[in-house]
C-alpha cells in the first residue's frame, strides 16, 4: 500500500515536471533571452506597456509584439536596427537620466543581427 502511494506520488511529480517542461517550450517567447535583455534595458522604459509616452507606445510597444501583423513586424524590425545603429535610440535625453542604458557596440551588433535574421525568417513565412 505504502509502495503504491509512493509510486503514485512519484508519477504525479514526474507528470508535473514534464508538464512544466512542455509548457515552457511550447509557449513561444517573443524574443530570445539575450535580445529580450537588451530590449528590456534599452527600450522597455518607453516602449512597453506601462510606459507613459503615448507617442513612444504608438511607435512600437514591445509588450504587444505578437499582436502586430506580419508586415508591421518586418517594418519594425528594420526600424529597430536603424534607430540604434544611427544612435537615434535610445534618445540622448533619456540617456542623460539613465546613462547605464546606453547600448554598447556589441549589443547593437547583436540586436541588428537578430532583427535581420528575424525579418528574413518572417519573410520566408516561418
Amino acid at each position: 500500500m505504502k509502495k503504491q502511494i509512493v509510486s503514485i506520488v512519484m508519477a504525479g511529480i514526474l507528470f508535473l515536471f514534464l508538464q512544466s517542461f512542455i509548457s515552457e517550450h511550447s509557449e513561444e517567447q517573443a524574443f530570445p533571452d539575450d535580445i529580450g535583455m537588451i530590449l528590456e534595458s534599452a527600450c522597455f522604459d518607453c516602449h512597453a506597456t506601462g510606459a507613459k509616452s503615448e507617442k513612444a507606445l504608438k511607435a512600437v510597444n514591445f509588450s504587444d509584439w505578437e499582436e502586430y501583423r506580419l508586415t508591421k513586424k518586418i517594418g519594425l524590425l528594420g526600424d529597430v536596427c536603424k534607430m540604434v545603429e544611427e544612435g537615434k535610440m535610445p534618445p540622448e535625453k533619456y540617456l542623460e537620466h539613465k546613462p547605464d542604458r546606453k547600448m554598447s557596440e556589441v549589443q547593437t551588433k547583436l540586436l541588428c543581427e537578430w532583427t535581420k535574421k528575424e525579418a528574413e525568417k518572417l519573410m520566408q513565412g516561418e
Binding site: L70, T71, I74, G75, G78, A119, L122, M123
Partner: protein, 154 residues
C-alpha cells in the same frame, strides 16, 4: 509719421524684391522608372493620382510648385520641408531600398494616414486635392498592405 511709414513700406518691398533673386534649387529631377515607387509598382491610375497629389510634393524628387511657392521666402520654407520629407522617405528612391525597408515604408505609409499625421495640416490648407477621405485612406491602406505582402514573397 506717414512719410516714415512710406519709406518703411518701400524698404520692405525692396527687400522682398531682392529676396526673389535668391531662390532655392527646385525639386524636379526627371523620374527614374527603375527607382520611382509609382513607376515600379504601377498601381491603378486612381491610386497613383492620390499618392502623387497627397505625398509626392514632399516625398519625391518631383514637386509641383504653384506660383506662390516660387516666391521667396515661401520657397525657402518649402525647400526645408521638402528636404526633411525626402530624408524621412523619398518615393523616388523606392527601388534602392532593400526588402525590409520597402515593407517598412509601405506599412508606415498606411500608419501615418491612419494616425492622420500625414499629409501635414499646413500642406492641406493650400492643397485641397491632397485631402484624403476615409474611403481613400482605406483604399491606399489596402493597396500598401497588398504590396507589402508581395514584397515579402518576392
Amino acid at each position: 509719421m506717414s512719410k516714415r511709414l512710406k519709406i518703411g513700406g518701400l524698404a520692405l518691398l525692396a527687400v522682398l524684391l531682392i529676396l526673389q533673386f535668391f531662390q532655392p534649387e527646385q525639386n524636379n529631377a526627371p523620374v527614374d522608372p527603375e527607382l520611382d515607387m509609382l513607376a515600379v509598382l504601377a498601381p491603378p491610375e486612381h491610386i497613383s493620382a492620390l499618392i502623387r497629389n497627397a505625398c509626392y510634393d514632399c516625398h519625391s524628387n518631383q514637386t509641383i510648385y504653384p506660383w506662390y511657392e516660387k516666391v521667396s521666402p515661401v520657397s525657402w520654407y518649402l525647400h526645408k520641408h521638402i528636404q526633411d520629407g525626402k530624408e524621412d522617405l523619398n518615393f523616388s528612391d523606392y527601388g534602392k531600398m532593400d526588402k525590409v525597408d520597402r515593407i517598412g515604408a509601405l506599412v508606415d505609409f498606411c500608419d501615418v494616414l491612419d494616425a492622420g499625421t500625414m499629409p501635414l495640416q499646413s500642406f492641406l490648407l493650400l492643397h485641397k486635392n491632397a485631402r484624403l477621405s476615409q474611403e481613400e485612406k482605406e483604399t491606399l491602406c489596402n493597396w500598401t498592405e497588398d504590396e507589402a505582402l508581395k514584397v515579402m514573397r518576392e
